[in-house]
């Protein structure tokens, strides 16, 4: 395994960088989209709630790979050209945003309804109360599950390997087929994944315990 790192260190690090880059971009955008749909689902408007529900159920129940392949295969044909990395990141963002919407919604619901009532009684509008009173409290509860979503995101980013996204998994395949040391190549890739995911998931477990 050490000689794999010696011989292919640069390739592996490049893959690690791509994996991290794609995960972080997807995390930022899926947080924005996910929070937006969580707010829509909690809003008083019935049509908005229906739309949000439809979006969440759609992307939660279709495999990530199908979404990614859709952007990789169908989009270039009919809309715009995009490379594997972009297609993979868009797929990841949409898929993760549905899960984040569910998480944030659970967080909003866990905030005592008296908070909203109190701020409305003090003259704030619904959206002001949401923005300044409810959401800040909700995010405190939501941080551990969001961290776990990020771990899932990093693991799911391996689907970039299907569409030529040059991520860690893709490089692992390249190394496995060029060095013919399949086990060692995949083990090195596994170690690099664990370096990212293990600390986050242990830290989130610690946070969960402290919050409980």
């Amino acid at each position: 395994m050490i000689h794999i790192f010696q011989a292919y260190g640069g390739t592996l690090l490049y893959g690690l960088g791509q994996t991290l880059l794609c995960s972080i971009i997807a995390l930022i955008f899926s947080l924005i989209i996910g929070t937006f749909f969580a707010l829509l689902e909690e809003s008083p408007n019935k049509v908005a709630r229906r739309c949000a529900r439809a979006y969440i159920e759609l992307f939660r129940n279709i495999p990530l790979l199908v979404i990614t392949m859709f952007f990789y295969v169908v989009f270039p044909l009919y809309v715009i050209k995009m490379n594997g990395f972009t297609a993979g990141t868009i797929g990841l963002t949409l898929y993760t945003s549905a899960f984040i919407a569910e998480t944030v919604r659970a967080g909003i619901q866990s905030v005592d309804s008296g908070q909203m009532e109190g701020s409305r009684a003090n003259g704030l509008t619904y959206w002001q109360a949401m923005r300044y009173i409810v959401l800040p409290q909700a995010f405190r509860y939501v941080i551990p599950p969001l961290g776990n979503q990020f771990v899932n995101l990093v693991k799911n980013s391996s689907t970039l390997a299907f569409v030529g996204g040059f991520d860690l998994m893709y490089q692992g395949n390249v190394i496995a087929s060029s060095s013919l040391e399949t086990m060692a190549a995949y083990a090195s890739v596994g170690v690099l994944y664990l370096i990212i995911t293990m600390p986050i998931s242990y830290y989130m477990r610690y946070l969960e315990k402290r919050l409980a």
Partner: protein, 218 residues
């Protein structure tokens, strides 16, 4: 456009796609049963704190949980032959799914057992049951009820994750749709609509089941 859909959904193509659905369901069901059994055993081992064993099991669970499923699929299909075992495609897919999902379920089982009031175990012990009797007859049944929604949603992601096995050429829906649209590019959109719909129906039914079980329990 409409004509493309009509052509794409010819009886032969549909039969071929539904065959893929059959393979998805076959792999999922076997992995679900396997991972439920193994996951429960691992979860209990991790919970009861047997000296050394539990710590080792805990580390193994955490390592496998934090790896991508795709990597485990590569291990079972491309890596195992290096060690002298050469599984076929379907067993390799089932093996990888079972390994991965068992560790996920082990965590669910462990936290489910922890959520049961410790007074239950104390009461059972005070009434003369041994530790294992108390665990098996008193604590586990209550824990199981609490865990059901989480377990069902884990199974939903298992069904979705079977699509990853296209990379080791498991002939399931996604793989077969690629073969169909590979012959005629007009079929690309109809094929994506079809497989998205099939996955959606299966997973949505499962998530309705999870929601129902959650409501009944509350």
């Amino acid at each position: 456009m409409l004509q493309n859909f009509i052509d794409a959904y010819s009886p032969d193509n549909l039969r071929y796609l539904f065959g893929g659905l059959g393979i998805t369901i076959l792999v999922s069901v076997i992995s679900i049963i396997g991972s439920f059994i193994i996951g429960s055993i691992l979860g209990v081992i991790r919970y009861v704190k047997i000296k050394y064993v539990s710590a080792v099991v805990g580390v193994i669970i955490d390592v496998i949980r934090n790896l991508p499923l795709l990597l485990i699929l590569f291990f079972t299909y491309f890596g195992l032959p290096n060690l002298g075992v050469k599984p076929e495609i379907i067993p390799a897919a089932i093996l990888a799914m079972t390994i991965f999902e068992s560790t996920m379920l082990a965590e669910i089982v462990r936290s489910g057992i922890q959520a049961v009031d410790p007074g239950q175990m104390e009461g059972a012990r005070a009434n003369g049951l041994t530790y294992w009797q108390g665990l098996w007859h008193i604590v586990l049944p209550q824990a199981l009820v609490k865990m059901i929604p989480a377990i069902v949603s884990q199974f939903i992601s298992l069904v979705k994750d079977t699509s990853l096995a296209t990379i080791i050429l498991l002939p399931e829906m996604l793989f077969r749709s690629q073969i169909i649209y590979g012959q005629n590019t007009n079929y690309i959109i109809p094929m994506f609509v079809a497989i998205a719909l099939m996955y959606f129906v299966v997973c949505y039914l499962l998530s309705l089941l999870a929601g129902y079980l959650e409501k009944r329990q509350a």
